[in-house]
Subunit: 148 residues, 2 copies
DNA sequence: GGCAGATTGTTTTAAACGAAACGAAAGACC
DNA sequence: GGTCTTTCGTTTCGTTTAAAACAATCTGCC
């Protein structure tokens, strides 16, 4: 019986925290719009930058290529997003929010902000916490894989 | 083009951090012992408490029942764990580390500690960070599902 | 004892996943 | 132009997942 305390292990604690924090908001968009976390991320990113390629999202949003591709396809069939081949470079697929997609993000955006405010209200020093997260995260950027 | 900044969204930041932090150590036990995160969690918990039921792990380790059950089965076929029906209550399955399993956790445990130390060295105030995580996590304990 | 309800662990099902392979298109080089 | 390499997005393959259904066992109560 070796003594290793999982509940004091930082990666475990962060993983548990992450899934709880995520669930609190994921519930909203899952129940209301039927989208998943991956899809939420794509839409959220699309709300910042009008028209974006799959590749761009893959790089900016911490998801691998197939995951972005699939999320985009689901969002397209659900009518939240359009996919068009970029005529200048026909390898690229441009993703764009539809009216329905824009409505969704416009409804979700204030809820997300409120949720974030609620989270920060639970912390004694939100700014410091945020700083620590950013610092750790930056130190741990994984080496780019061989493929991409 | 609604303005919502995903990279400033706390749940997203934490999720990214979590996967990076987790990967740093998961790499070790995946490459060396061929086990996954779920399996690591089960073994790690078993190292604390000699013989434990699936249910116990499910409750203590933030994994749902099927996930624990499958992780346990994989660990059993890999020879790290034995499963025995509890004679006092034959619904219960007692999980126990084999010699091989104990060797594994004994090899991994110091690596885990070292990794944790490395993480904490990256933080200006590790104790404060830990405290904030615990606080947030506790506030967000999700309601128990209807089933279990 | 016997039977309704609760509990435990596994299995079923449909969906999602990661890794690798793939085809199509673009770029580099001669 | 032609060929080789790189890039981009999708698809394939096998595995894992969550949610629900399931069988087996136990408990409480008559």
């Amino acid at each position: 019986m070796t003594r290793f305390k999982l509940d004091h292990f930082l990666p475990y604690q962060i993983a548990v925290l992450s899934s709880r924090v995520s669930d609190g908001f994921a519930r909203h968009y899952r129940d209301t719009y039927g989208i998943s976390v991956s899809e939420w991320r794509v839409v959220a990113h699309l709300s910042q930058s009008d028209s974006v390629s799959v590749r761009e999202i893959h790089k900016r949003v911490d998801m691998d290529k197939p995951k972005v591709s699939r999320a985009a396809s689901r969002l397209e069939t659900a009518g939240y997003v359009t996919k068009t081949v970029n005529p200048a470079d026909r390898r690229l697929v441009e993703l764009k929010l539809t009216g329905k997609g824009r409505e969704m993000i416009e409804a979700l955006s204030p809820i997300a902000d409120a949720y974030q405010a609620k989270l920060e209200a639970l912390l004694s020093d939100p700014e410091e916490f945020r700083r620590q997260i950013a610092q750790l995260s930056n130190e741990l950027v994984s080496q780019p894989r061989v493929d991409d």
